[in-house]
Subunit: 349 residues, 2 copies
């Protein structure tokens, strides 16, 4: 319609005869000016279709009221992962309560660091280990607060984590307790979670597995163990399942680091007539919504994605509001959830 220029505060000032200050107060500080003044200003503003420009306002106020969620992969892959999605839900809840907006930031032309340079937000939440030195450097230069989920905590970088090592240890212990000794470990692609410091989620979980294996005289290098990695999405999970099948390794149990990978295995195995857990057990990690409804229901480690999102977002908002980074290690609780996809290996097999 009104294809002219937008009305600005100057137009309203000129039109009403009041100063810009007064116009501004009419919108942001009504009690500072006369009732009639305000009324007249709002009238004219309405006539001219004036709305204070949010960009100008934010710039002047030196804030955006938006927090950026750095996605580890292209958006589609990231949010198709139900665990990431849970985190997103948690973050969004906190944002909403704080009247903050949530900006999804995928790697821009493959570079997350370019995205971090340019994103107009007040703070970042990063997922996983993609937070390499370059990105941290950019965030520091911008002097913008940030929090990591599933990252490696450090003084500058608060992180929300579960105790991954113990969680992995507990899960593996269950698996071994059921008598399994030929186990395929389906790990996460280093791509998404790799850390130079070598202490990312993957490493920590591997340590946990290792510890449990040691208790029965095995190690990650034992012949009874097959190790493989996969990107964290259904399609790659199906391929990984094929890789297991084709390897001839014939594990009695598959221990996956993500439910979607575990579920992909279950689907693929079932399609081939392999019965779960009769022929092979499968356990996951995360306890995504589908885990309880897969067939059979998935035994897994439950970690509270939404809660982790909420914790990270709250910590970040605190920092944005000037509170010093509280403790840099924020810990959520995990829980091993026994369902039906883990059973005893067939003795006769």
């Amino acid at each position: 319609m009104t294809r002219g220029k937008r009305a600005t505060i100057n137009d309203i000032a000129r039109e009403t005869g009041y100063s810009k200050s007064t116009i501004s107060f009419a919108f942001n500080n009504p009690q500072r000016i006369g009732v009639d003044t305000r009324k007249k200003i709002l009238e004219v503003a309405d006539q001219l279709g004036y709305i204070p420009d949010p960009m100008a306002r934010n710039f002047s106020l030196q804030r955006q009221r938006s927090i950026g969620f750095l996605l580890p992969q292209k958006t589609e892959f990231s949010i198709r992962n139900p665990y990431v999605y849970e985190i997103l839900v948690g973050i969004s809840q906190v944002c909403q309560d704080a009247s903050f907006t949530l900006t999804l930031i995928p790697p821009l032309n493959e570079s997350l660091s370019a995205a971090v340079r340019n994103a107009p937000v007040d703070g970042f939440i990063a997922l996983g280990m993609k937070v390499d030195m370059e990105i941290v450097d950019v965030m520091q230069k911008r002097q913008i607060p940030y929090v990591t989920i599933d990252g490696v905590p450090s003084a500058d970088m608060p992180s929300v984590n579960i105790d991954d090592e113990t969680a992995a240890y507990s899960m593996m212990k269950e698996v071994l307790g059921f008598g399994h000794r030929r186990i395929a470990i389906l790990s996460l692609c280093r791509d998404a979670y790799y850390s130079e410091n070598a202490d990312g989620v993957v490493s920590r979980r591997l340590r946990g597995y290792s510890r449990a294996l040691a208790e029965v005289g095995m190690s990650l290098q034992s012949e009874g163990i097959m190790m493989l990695e996969s990107e964290c999405n259904i399609d790659e999970g199906l391929k990984a399942a094929d890789r297991i099948l084709d390897s001839g390794f014939c594990p009695t149990a598959v221990v996956a680091m993500a439910d979607i990978l575990a579920i992909a295995c279950i689907r693929r195995f079932s399609a081939k007539g392999i019965r779960i857990p009769h022929d092979v057990s499968v356990v996951g990690f995360d306890d995504i919504g589908e885990a309880a409804y897969s067939n059979p229901p998935l035994t897994t480690v439950s970690q509270p994605g939404a809660e982790k999102g909420r914790l990270a977002a709250s910590a970040l908002l605190g920092m944005i509001n000037g509170k010093e980074a509280e403790n840099s290690r924020i810990v959520s609780q995990f829980e091993v959830v026994m369902r039906d996809s883990l059973g005893r290996p067939e003795s006769g097999k």
Copy 2:
């Protein structure tokens, strides 16, 4: 670390002896200045930890490189709906390719229109009918482009839709074709999709159902029809299923306007020992990912959420880049997908 003030372009200018213009060019227009000049500038910038402030830059450039996705409900409910989620994926793909960021905008303190006033974005994509006159008014005042998905298209407001009426007609026709004559129609809550103009998605689908019923001499008011509404999430779906069960109406088929509602019915019914489709058939709408994996697999109408998101985002980006709103009616194709949750009613029943 460097807890001082951030370095600004002025600091670099002072430090290097060059003007702000030159500093700016060093970052945005390298070829306009001397190689050595640039080198020196970048050096100093690096020393001082200077990064051009994105907010200031965007403000000056009068753009944000972000598009806003207006969520119909609180973020958590919205994105927990797999259909919305598909749309989100589609939008995000286009954003990513265009190096745009995606801002999730839930109703701010219950008011979407306040959110629309304040969101620092270059354009909006709105989902469903929440786009009432007030919101449209705000967007027009801001002179910011917008596109609707599942909305009511108009000259000012391009909309991406499937032909909901025909889709609903086709689905109902199948149901009737199987011989069903006692049917519960599980409709969407007007809350999320209601339009003053009374021509939102719900109305259009009801017209379609109505047309199919007329062909067998029935109408939405027939005794064979039970109508009920539900908010579009799993929990409400379970409650709706209970309402059907408790009503004593005993339909032979449930026709739901969303897969999550249909799936909730299936779950609840199954839990009560009701066999599907043997005792009651259930059909959905949307064809979300889980539809194919529910037990039994869900007969539904497939509509391409991701594609709709992509179409909307592309149209919006076009408008942001100054192209006139192309045609305001963008149509996606639907498809009735026959799986196993629809069968013949038990004749003896």
